[in-house]
């Protein structure tokens, strides 16, 4: 009985299948370029997904467009230009460096520099704090601790 159940449950994953269209390429190089492109292009409907991950209908159509262009022999740059001319830099997961995207690219480094600056400030200030000499009482205590260690 248990085994039957186990077998049944093991068959469950068969119900899940990828419902993504399979494209046939006449050249493995084209297929590789297609895979890179759909990973780098953003789906505009669900904006935190790329074309490869998205099930949105527009994403399906954009994948088909990418496939058709690649299959016809367009270079990756041509596909990207095609998309950017229509949807803007927003379709790129890696936006180009421009005045409007400068903060996006430089932001993390600026924050890093500020962080390091603050850290240095703290360390410097700590070094400037005067070292308070030990009182005779503390000296005696330290001595006794050291003696205990030696025995």
């Amino acid at each position: 009985m248990r085994r039957a159940w186990l077998l049944l449950i093991l068959c469950l994953p068969l119900l899940a299948y990828a419902n993504i269209e399979a494209y046939r390429f006449d050249d493995p190089d084209k297929e590789a370029r297609y895979r890179v492109l759909i990973a780098e292009l953003r789906c505009l409907v669900c904006q935190n997904q790329n074309l490869a991950d998205s099930n949105a209908e527009l994403a399906q159509d954009l994948r088909r467009q990418t496939y058709e262009m690649v299959q016809k022999g367009s270079s990756s740059e041509e596909v990207i230009t095609y998309m950017v001319q229509r949807y803007g830099d927003f379709v790129l997961y890696r936006p180009p460096f421009r005045p409007s995207t400068a903060l996006l690219w430089a932001g993390p480094f600026i924050i890093f520099v500020i962080g390091v600056g603050i850290l240095m400030l703290f360390i410097r200030r700590r070094n400037k704090e005067p070292v308070v000499p030990l009182s005779s009482e503390e000296h005696a205590r330290a001595q006794s601790l050291l003696d205990k260690d030696n025995t």
Binding site: L44, Q65, R86
Partner: protein, 182 residues
């Protein structure tokens, strides 16, 4: 001296405030985060060559609209906002004399025809685009989307989301009046 330990807390609260404000703004306007700026503004309108929704043996195109100020509306029966804005589009076409060209995007043909027959047809022509062939050229990523094209065939304005009376009064009407003069 104790106040020093409140600084990180203060920074945390400031960041929280920014998030709350951002979320609030988004909930007020569903298009706030989604409005991707159109790269087409100021550029020539892409050519539209699509089968006619009402007679697929014919094609519709926008060449006859050259020299006119016209409005492109991308719609579909699966899009709730399109249902909502439809009566107002009818009003604009009938009462304000706006020239609408429609693209029916990724839609069921008979449902789309029924929609226009039942609710009225504000469009001078409707292209049927089940495979996003044409809308891709316009950088459309949702429905409804509305574009204004001037007499020289240059795209002047774009809005993702439903047309409202407020939008018409504040943006679209003044723009169309200006373009009509030019």
């Amino acid at each position: 001296m104790k106040a020093r330990y409140l600084i990180p807390f203060g920074i945390f609260m400031a960041i929280m405030a920014i998030f709350v404000l951002g979320l609030h703004k988004m909930s007020e306007d569903p298009n706030f985060a989604r409005n991707v700026p159109s790269v087409l503004i100021g550029k020539p309108a892409p050519e539209i060559m699509l089968p006619d929704l009402f007679d697929q043996s014919k094609t519709v195109n926008t060449s006859s609209l050259m020299g006119k100020v016209w409005v492109l509306n991308v719609w579909a029966t699966w899009c709730p906002e399109c249902w909502r804005e439809h009566d107002f589009l009818m009003h604009l076409a009938k009462k304000e004399g706006v020239t609408f060209f429609g693209i029916d995007w990724r839609d069921d043909e008979s449902a789309a025809k029924k929609f226009l027959n039942d609710k009225g047809n504000p469009f001078v022509a409707v292209g049927f685009d089940p495979e996003s062939r044409s809308i891709m050229n316009w950088g459309v990523y949702g429905a409804p989307e509305t574009f204004v094209i001037d007499k020289q065939g240059i795209v002047r304005w774009k809005k993702a989301g439903a047309m409202t009376r407020e939008l018409w009064e504040t943006e679209l009407k003044p723009l169309i009046q200006k373009l009509e003069k030019g």
